[in-house]
């Protein structure tokens, strides 16, 4: 009788152990899954019929393109300035900055305003596709030789060939800043 009880007790213990182990395993798996599943939030947009993405962190807002005032004496990649709620924002044409072929320059519909603490400007986009979360593991770092865009500005390419631009690099690139003292 006593043995039986002991047995039963032992069985119960074993069951408990098994369950515990399973729980632990499952828990670990979940942890692992979380690591793998890290992703970035991006805004996907179209430029010269190709899809590009920029991390949401660097985007202040998306704004419709209207009343662009061109500015003389600026490099060609500066499209002009616009009025965003009483603030002047300069607009950059990445097609010109990256030397992309300009298929259809009249189709610019939207402006994506990029910002960091020290820099702010808008970039032209033909169209905005939307916000998407891209799992980090799907981003390929190695890439086909992309024409025009310096590899410097690219973070990676996704499976469906969306080019993820390095917004931080653009925001800190001294080449993008116009500072021209007059030389006589």
């Amino acid at each position: 009788m006593r043995e039986e009880i002991n047995d039963l007790f032992q069985q119960k213990e074993t069951t408990k152990m098994v369950l515990k182990k399973r729980a632990k395993d499952l828990a670990i798996q979940k942890d692992k899954k979380d690591n793998v599943g890290a992703s970035i939030e991006v805004v996907i947009f179209v430029l010269s019929q190709e899809k590009y993405a920029i991390e949401l962190n660097y985007i202040r807002e998306v704004y419709p393109l209207k009343d662009l005032t061109p500015l003389p004496c600026t490099p060609s990649f500066v499209s002009g300035i616009i009025n965003v709620r009483s603030q002047i924002v300069s607009i950059i044409d990445l097609k010109k900055f990256f030397d992309l072929s300009d298929h259809d320059s009249d189709s610019n519909q939207r402006i994506i305003i990029l910002h960091s603490q020290k820099m702010e400007f808008g970039i032209l986009a033909d169209a905005i596709i939307g916000v998407k979360s891209i799992p980090l593991k799907t981003i390929q770092m190695s890439m086909l030789t992309l024409q025009g865009i310096g590899a410097d500005y690219i973070k990676g390419v996704t499976e469906n060939r969306t080019v993820i631009l390095d917004a931080e690099k653009m925001l800190t690139d001294p080449k993008i800043v116009v500072h021209e003292e007059l030389k006589v």
């Binding site: 009025n83 030397d99 021209e180 007059l182």
Partner: protein, 864 residues
């Protein structure tokens, strides 16, 4: 006594500055503590506190507050040790530092109070921390145990006296010694009144033991690393606390039975805390001001809306006129249909139509009335909005105004010090201290004024001996005066009676540096000659600086002043002195601009730079030495097209008009006349920066937003006048007519798939009077080429069907006209592409990014 007064004023200013810096230090310290808690190092904030402590030390020295100086010195040392990573943060350190700050604050509010022992204790503790001695407190305590008796005794005496210093002073007048100040015997102290001396020197010296007193005295304001820890011990014991320094300030009530006079200082502190003014951080104030300034654009916008409403109203008038003319027709139809025998069904329809027309008329009239009402209401709203916004902005501007004295008070000391260094005697006078100016402008004025005053003393004013020889009065005079002119502007004049500027020397140097030609130099007016000293090239010349002075940095002075929307001029007479006149606006907020139009684009020119706007006859433009000029009241000034200056490609050929509109710009005496398409008017504008990415754009100073919401660039007239010096631009207008002769009849084929680019090129070429045919791609171009006759082909590279390279090759292969010049215009910039273009046989390869009209035209002119 004058100096006494000065010191008083300086101290008042110091108090303001110090409390600002203290706030900054303490908030930075708190931030540091936070990051320390999180285990991070925060070097940026550390830099801030270090700088602040350092500046505060310097300022304290200037006004002879040696106690504060000592404390700051200790602070600075600790921070620099932290920066070097010799030591690490500890929470004790923060406690000590914060209590040190509190002590400085107490000293500020009541400089006459004595806190020698506290200062010492903090100084010592900080010293310990800095030298990395662990747990300084414990050490002190153990030290104190070796001589407990005397320490306890001393401490109790000390605390009694620090809290009742006046009493002790009166009871022991003979024993009071100027200890606090004695290490720093600057002129100020010598000249301070006796009473002042008494106050600052009250000391707790009343009782034995002698040794301790001496130590305390020595340690008042200099660092003595080998000083015994007695005084600190005393602190420890007095406060009966493991870490006592937190409770140091004098206003801290101590439960001592015999310090009945302790109330006096604490009351004083309180009084200074509750003042009639409130300190607001400039950041907050500036952001508030910006927002209020934004309201101006709201005002402008509402004005614009009102105008659009009124325009809508006018269209009703048009309708009314039309109605009146058509009404008779309508009546006629009505009469006719009633009389005639038409089908009843048609009658029915016509009746419906009639009643609809009646209803329509009534409806439109009622709409008109509604709009009329709306206009009335909007007009009223707009009026009150305008008044309110202007009022708020005015008040806001006043809030940011400060008297000139808040800036000028730093100058007398500077002038005196400089004079002493150079053994010159100068009477320095300031007038107009009460004039109020926007704080931001005052801040910007500080450097230019400092610079000009220095210049006057360094280079303008002679030494006493030289002045004696020249039979000038021995004392030189230097005047800084400020006065209101023209409502919103002030004139600042810096005048000395020194030796003046040697114009001949300036001229020779300018010629030597190639800034002007010999010929120009001979024709220079005195005004232009003087203006040369503001040129940057000249200012870097050491020779000029040495001989005539006035060189270094004048360009910077000018730039600063111009940035404020002001101007600086100079007048000088050899041997008699120099006068600099600066005119700046009192407020920065709004300025007025003239709205102009160029090729359907709007620009704003700041009114300050516009000498006049006029219409001149086209034929009155005459070329002088190959430069276009016009005359203005007998003076010949150079004439350029503003769109050339701004490098805007000309989209259409200028019609040969009889009159052209000209805007005459002026910067420091230099005039140019610019051709514009139209002048639309003058209005209030709010200048905004172009954003962070466009840090500086040549010829463009900023932008403004019109009432309609449209963004308009504001021109940088200073840049424009400099740009106009470029010979190529001036030539382009003059050679217009010549070009017409040579280009006439030449035909050009343009191949370009983008319609915009095609039109642009076509326009450029047609304006140069070429005959232009166009093609939409390479193949199209080749077909045209085969069938027509062209003197030259301009082609894009990237084109469908046949690209530019292929087209070039095809043309080269043509037996009859294979020699026709081909110009490739492209955005492909790489050397390989260029090579490919040349390999294909193109004569020229123009990259679009530097594609401007003159470039293309020049190239074409060379080829045919």
């Amino acid at each position: 006594m004058k100096e006494d007064e000065l010191l008083k004023r300086l101290r008042a200013a110091f108090k303001m500055e110090a409390s600002e810096r203290l706030t900054s230090i303490s908030s930075s310290l708190l931030a540091l503590e936070k990051s320390y808690d999180h285990g991070e190092s925060n070097t940026e904030t550390l830099d801030v506190v270090f700088r602040e402590a350092h500046s505060l030390k310097g300022a304290a020295r200037a006004v002879n507050y040696s106690d504060i100086e000592t404390l700051c010195q200790a602070f600075e040392e600790v921070f620099s040790a932290l920066k070097r990573k010799d030591i690490v943060f500890s929470s004790e350190m923060f406690d000590v530092l914060l209590s040190g700050l509190e002590l400085i604050e107490t000293l500020l509010n009541d400089p006459e109070s004595n806190h020698a022992s506290e200062i010492n204790s903090i100084y010592k503790t900080l010293e310990h921390i800095r030298l990395g001695l662990d747990e300084p407190v414990k050490k002190k305590i153990s030290d104190s145990k070796s001589q407990p008796e005397s320490d306890t005794l001393f401490s109790s005496i000390q605390s009694v006296h620090s809290n009742s210093e006046k009493k002790s002073h009166h009871s022991n007048p003979s024993r009071s010694e100027p200890v606090v100040m004695d290490k720093d015997k600057s002129d100020f102290v010598k000249n301070t009144s006796k009473a002042d001396m008494h106050n600052t020197s009250q000391l707790p010296i009343a009782a034995p033991p002698e040794t301790n007193i001496t130590e305390t005295r020595k340690g008042e304001n200099i660092s003595l690393p080998d000083m015994p820890t007695d005084s600190i011990t005393e602190e420890v014991l007095r406060n009966d606390n493991a870490f006592p320094v937190k409770k140091i300030p004098a206003s801290q009530p101590e439960p001592q039975p015999n310090n009945c006079e302790q109330k006096v200082p604490s009351k004083k502190t309180e009084k200074s805390m509750i003042e009639e003014t409130v300190r607001i951080s400039t950041q907050k104030l500036d952001s508030l001001l910006l927002k209020v300034e934004e309201l101006v654009s709201l005002k402008l916008a509402s004005g614009q809306h009102l105008r659009s409403l009124k325009a809508t109203m006018l269209s009703f008038e048009t309708w009314k006129k039309r109605w009146l003319t058509e009404e008779s027709t309508f009546r006629w139809i009505r009469r006719k249909t009633r009389g005639s025998k038409t089908e009843p069904r048609n009658q029915e329809h016509l009746k419906k139509l009639e009643s609809f027309l009646d209803w329509n008329q009534k409806h439109i009239i009622s709409l008109e009335q509604q709009i009329k009402k709306m206009i009335d209401i909007s007009a009223k709203d707009q009026r009150s909005l305008s008044i309110m916004i202007d009022d708020v902005l005015d008040d806001m501007k006043k809030v940011t105004m400060q008297p000139f004295s808040s800036l000028s008070q730093i100058f007398p000391k500077m002038v005196r010090d400089l004079c002493r260094e150079q053994s010159k005697t100068v009477d320095f006078n300031i007038t107009g201290n009460e004039v109020e100016i926007d704080r931001r402008i005052l801040e910007e004025l500080k450097d230019p004024l400092t610079h000009l005053l220095r210049n006057s003393i360094d280079h303008g004013i002679e030494t006493s001996e030289v002045r004696n020889q020249l039979k000038k009065s021995k004392r030189a005079t230097l005047t800084l005066s400020i006065s209101h002119v023209l409502g919103n502007k002030v004139d600042i004049i810096i005048e000395d009676d020194g030796k003046g500027i040697d114009l001949e020397r300036v001229r020779r140097e300018a010629v030597k540096r190639g800034m002007i030609t010999e010929k120009d130099a001979a024709n220079l007016t005195e005004k232009e000659n003087l203006a040369l000293i503001f040129r940057q090239e000249l200012s870097t010349s050491p020779i000029i600086t040495q001989i005539s002075g006035r060189g270094l940095g004048l360009a910077i002075v000018q730039e600063r002043i111009q940035k404020l929307g002001g101007m600086v001029t100079v007048e000088s007479f050899i041997g008699q002195g120099t006068t600099f006149q600066i005119q700046v606006p009192i407020t920065l907020a709004t300025s007025r601009g003239i709205l102009i139009q160029l090729h359907n684009k709007l620009f704003v020119v700041p009114v300050t730079y516009v000498e006049r706007v006029m219409r001149v006859e086209t034929k009155s433009v005459k070329t002088v030495e190959n430069k276009a000029t016009i005359t203005l009241e007998g003076e010949v000034i150079s004439f350029v097209s503003l769109s050339d200056l701004l490098e805007i490609p000309v989209m259409e050929a200028h019609e040969k008009k009889e009159f052209i509109t000209v805007i005459v710009l002026e910067v420091s005496g230099k005039l140019i006349a610019c051709r514009v398409d139209e002048v639309l008017g003058e209005q209030e504008v709010l200048v905004k920066s172009l954003g962070k990415q466009l840090s500086r754009v040549r010829n463009i100073a900023g932008a403004t937003i019109l009432g309609s919401g449209k963004v308009v660039p504001m021109l940088n007239v200073h840049d424009l006048i400099q740009s106009s010096g470029k010979s190529s631009l001036i030539r382009s207008f003059v050679t217009d007519e010549k070009k017409a002769d040579t280009t006439q009849g030449k035909s050009i084929l343009v191949a370009e798939d983008s319609i915009t680019s095609r039109m642009l090129i076509q326009n450029i070429l047609e304006s140069a009077e070429y005959i232009v045919s166009t093609a939409v791609d390479g193949l199209d171009a080749y077909t045209s080429f085969k069938t027509g006759h062209f003197d030259l082909v301009v082609s894009d590279v990237e084109m469908p069907k046949m690209n530019g390279f292929e087209l070039t090759e095809k043309i080269r292969d043509d037996k009859q006209r294979g020699e026709t010049p081909v110009v490739l215009v492209t955005s492909l910039q790489s050397p390989e592409d260029r090579k490919r273009g040349i390999d294909a046989g193109a004569n020229a390869y123009i990259v679009k990014s530097n594609f401007d009209q003159s470039n293309l035209l020049e190239v074409i002119e060379r080829l045919i």
